[in-house]
Symmetry: C2
Subunit: 594 residues, 2 copies
Amino acid sequence: MTYRAPVADMIATMKHAAGLEQALASGLYGDLGLDDITAILEEAGKFAADRIAPLNKVGDRHGTPFRDGVVTMPPGWKEVYSDWAAAGWNGLTASDAFGGQGLPCIVNSACIEMWNAASGAFGLGPLLTQGAIEAITAHASEELKAKYLPKMVSGEWTGTMNLTEPSAGSDLSVLRTRAERAGDGTYRITGSKIFITYGEHDLTENIIHLVLARLPDAPPGTKGISLFLVPKFLVNADGSIGERNDVRCHSIEHKLGVHGSPTCTMVYGDKGGATGWLVGEENRGLMAMFTMMNNARLAVALQGVSIAERATQQAVAYAMERRQGKAPGAKGEGISAIIEHPDVKRMLATMRASTRAARAICYMLASEIDRAHLGASEAERKAGNARASLLTPIAKAYATDIGNEVASLGVQVHGGMGFVEETGAAQHMRDARIYAIYEGTNGIQAIDLVTRKIGIDGGALVAAEIARMRGIVAAVAGSNAEGFGQTATRLGEAVDALEGSTRHLIAALASDPADAQAGATPYARLFGLALGGTSLAEKALKARDGDTAETVRAEALGLARFFAENLATAAPGLGASIVSGGQSVTHLDIPLAS
Amino acid sequence: MTYRAPVADMIATMKHAAGLEQALASGLYGDLGLDDITAILEEAGKFAADRIAPLNKVGDRHGTPFRDGVVTMPPGWKEVYSDWAAAGWNGLTASDAFGGQGLPCIVNSACIEMWNAASGAFGLGPLLTQGAIEAITAHASEELKAKYLPKMVSGEWTGTMNLTEPSAGSDLSVLRTRAERAGDGTYRITGSKIFITYGEHDLTENIIHLVLARLPDAPPGTKGISLFLVPKFLVNADGSIGERNDVRCHSIEHKLGVHGSPTCTMVYGDKGGATGWLVGEENRGLMAMFTMMNNARLAVALQGVSIAERATQQAVAYAMERRQGKAPGAKGEGISAIIEHPDVKRMLATMRASTRAARAICYMLASEIDRAHLGASEAERKAGNARASLLTPIAKAYATDIGNEVASLGVQVHGGMGFVEETGAAQHMRDARIYAIYEGTNGIQAIDLVTRKIGIDGGALVAAEIARMRGIVAAVAGSNAEGFGQTATRLGEAVDALEGSTRHLIAALASDPADAQAGATPYARLFGLALGGTSLAEKALKARDGDTAETVRAEALGLARFFAENLATAAPGLGASIVSGGQSVTHLDIPLAS
């Protein structure tokens, strides 16, 4: 068994850090009950562990060979994908009007974590399909929806997102792919796109590309970009597969990780133009794309959690088996399992506590996305949307950063064996590395947080978040719970640092925007530490009051304390760097070498 | 040009952070002058950049195919290696009695950085040979020295270190390889060794293995281990190559990085026992191995610096070329080079400042190793040795940790391109990952620092180091130099944290050794930050007084300030974790999953 789905902690996190019980009680999720959610998660966990996890190493070794425009997926992948789709997992959150199950984002979030923990390269394809489904659902005509959504929701067809071009990555304003009106309501698309995940593969009979392109009379910049649906095969009126469209995969990338996920350069319009259909309005394509980008950012954050969980499980298992030296205080003759050595335990505790903290932040975000969609009142939905928009960049940056760090610690726990590919720890580190980059680099997330989010409602949104965290700190301080140690003190210091940094950044945004941006990355991290630390503390407090087993309660308490005393302790230093370190960044001149 | 040797900074670091001028003035290095050192470094830099750097990607792609016991090195490697050895680079520090140049460790340190920055896999082989030369020089009989050293010093033969076995990694006490007395003064060696770097290759006609093994009547544990010299080919009395010895490469590892360096499983004694010669005394082999281990730790620390330097150069070059978005405050129409974006600049500044700080620590260590060997008085040599033993674990842990971090930031600066192997940034990250593991994992280094080093002279050694750093902080505070910003304050806080943590750990070593070990890793990092930060500040102060060019002075000042205000700021949090976080580590129970 290379992966066990952490269903118990997922449920505990939903209940104790993401307000699931209140949401259920308030009727936000209709008839759905905690037992239903648990059952779904357990079923998903089984599929992930039994069927998907064994694909992970196969995908890494085989990759996705490319020849003559055809991408061959790794051995065994097609069958598992078909079974996965047939079981309905692809359409968990999609509307039942198109065959989906209409389940909340928070439930799908746990499932996304499981698919990706089992195999990040496998889990990545459906994320793109689900993003495409969202964009089509929100913006396409009823005709397009009726034609494409049912097979995309069922997973019979997959979807892609075509944004990036060689010169247009983080900055889409300069993209060049062209779309011309064909006169019959369709468009002819011409151009190249790079880094297209699952742009070509043999898992399904059709692939539905969503493509950003520019009309001949479009205004320059981001206000002149339109979104088009471009199927690999045209679809006949009766829904059957028709002619091949004028789009092909030109090549695939040789990547550091996620080898089982084909990353394609796509060429549109070799033969005069691929046929595309407008999604949404002309020149408003970026807006349409942004609709689904927030959810995609949560999904990538969950990938960060997933790889951290997988790497942690593997490292803990190894540390229990591997024996070297004698741990301090070890009794008897023999040598100790390395998990007994305090330094190894620190690594494992860092891994597990960081993973849990990131999971809590992601589930808080998922719960707000649900509130934004399903809230009973306009005010409720607006509040959900606002908090989701604040939490999105923090979740994406924090969870994917710790994904990298935890996977790297996983290698370290394995010692020399960690550097040997057969062990698998190195693959986790390689796979993890893309999460902090795609779907908006973590730098972009941090800048988004600082320049667009902390000013929401004149700073009231962040102030409310800080007040909420202070409430948890006070509850810890007042709990008299044995075993919290310095938790309240350390988390209080972290929240103080967050508050001071926020004040500094809001002022700097007006007086010295470069200084504010220089503080963006440490600020996102600081926010993640404060949110993660208080979430773990809240979990520990609530586990104590609930019906949780003693071992689970002890673990929740122990990890909350560890996080506060050993990880959240970085917060004041980050605050100092934000408040007084920006000038040393912006005024520095960096030559090539000396 | 993929690599430029940073000779100017190397010289500046030697002069302004590692006391080179005082050492030269005191006659420590005899006739050697600053001009000689500069000339050697420039020559080495040329060879590294022109000849070795082009091998780096080739080695990564081709690896070292293994077939029928034979390892084939990547295309072009043999020729470059031969030219490198013929130019005398392998014997820089070796005794002139055996054809070496008798140069100081600090000069070789700069060269080691250059070979490894050019190609870590290439640079690794000579490190093992140099380690073997040291062990043989210090412990072998005159006969063995005369027979083996000349060809090892010239690089005509390479050397290896055979320590690790499947069950004996960090803990060598349980090793099982056997040695039996043959009765003629030689020994028959039988057993398997894993992770043997350059254990087999086709660069040279012979390979000299140093092998740890246990005699039949040896006491158990580390006091029963002996060291043997086991050549691949026996050497005739006239020095010519004789019969093949009973040792073979059984397989090579499929590794995350350094693909150009063959990592071998070696089998000794398939046919009854490999012929070996005792090095040093029976049962004192570990001691002999430790002689060279300290220098090997410096060498690996330099590998950390080297990969950080290489990754930084590549990232800076890319960030100057790549254009995306508009930086805050950018004038005119067009989009900005990403180096103009404060968040990218923060990454690049972190990379460069961390690299320079690690280099300074390594050169301080090298200079103490020189003092330990060449010091005029016994007291001088003893002082050098003591400070070297303190600095060794800090240099190894800090420099290789930042090697990983800087290489990973290098990937991040490249965005999506960083994840594509052709770019080269990912290779740096893969290559870097072993440095924190081999030659004593960084956890082992940190535990060595806490359990063996901070207690030296009843704590006086660390106290002196702290006093030295306080002197620099005071000089910065008193300098009235414009542009130091909060440098003195931040570094003062870092040194305070170091002092408080040291006090805590010394007490904990007596009362609760597990708590002390739990603080080891953050303590090593904290020490590295304090040493690195004060070293950069010292460089900035001295550059101001010297004959340095204005741009170099400005850069030294800017990086010192950046480091103090943005990286050393982590120190107080690490201190808090050490002083009050240990219990939450040692008392935590970590189950497999939940």
